[in-house]
Amino acid sequence: MGGRQFAPEAWLPFFERMENTALGTVVRESIWAFPIIEAVHLLGLGLLGGAVLLADLRLWGTGLTRQPIASVVRYAHPWLVAGVALMFLTGVPLFLSEAVKCYYNTSFWVKMISLPFALTFTFGARKWLVAAAPERADWRTRLIAFISLGLWFTVAAAGRWIGFSA
């Protein structure tokens, strides 16, 4: 998987510039910075995962079934935003420290392509569909949950795989 060129050649200078930013250099040259930021990135995964699951389990028809669908999605929302923010704030320095490696990494591109889909689906389509959601879970709410879980699983799995495919 690794080592193959996935992105257009013309994008490489941009990735080289990113790697040479002050932040990228600091993280790369420090022994502790990358592991600690990576660990906080993992905590963000837990938070984001918990928020996604809380809402999607309810949409699937399990989890907090005694509460209305719209309420559960609302309860999860601030933690979803916090989880995304935490992952973004830690993900950017991690990327900057090894931007050129990411450029050549297929998993990185799988993540970068699935991430906008996951974000727009969750903050756009899912929010809009939930506003018109029925009281009880049905095939439509299940489809929403399935797509959401599938997209976020792809983002997370590809993210972990960046470290394995050299």
Binding site: L42, L47, G49, G50, L64, R160, F164
Partner: protein, 184 residues
Amino acid sequence: MERFLEWLGDTPWSIALLESTLAWPLIESSHVLAVALFFGTVMMNDLRLLGWTMRRVPVSEVTGRLLPWTRIGFTIMVITGFLIFYSNPVRYYHNIFFRLKVVLFAVAGLNAFLFHRGIHRRVVEWERLPVLPGRARVAGAVSLAAWALIIVAGRLIAYNWFDCDIPGQPDWVNWAAGCPVAGD
């Protein structure tokens, strides 16, 4: 202990697992992704105990409806965790972050035990209060902190900063890692 772990690490399956190009990363990835299922649901429960979310939902409802998912996440973490340990037992045994993680497991476990044996027995009496009893909030905070530190420690196991074969380490590092003492 040392000899048992050496024997364990020399078993053919342990060697095959450590050298595998696909099985090990897949097991490791499952371990990491199960964080979302396990820690994600634990966190939601802890945040409810702290009164930071779902205040209108009774505590027992949050716990009861999320617990099956927490259990599934926990089972995946335990199975994959043991397999990862099995792939290189001696190394993990002497890794200070692994040892820290084991200590933190005891903290998280004791906290959960005391909570369930203590104030949680009367959960129906207080689960709808606007502010939950101090002991319930403390249990939520300790759980949140312990599991977060377990994840951080777990991530740091990957680094060999304090391995026993690194010369000139402070005595406390060698003590904490249980390094064999160089007698002569």
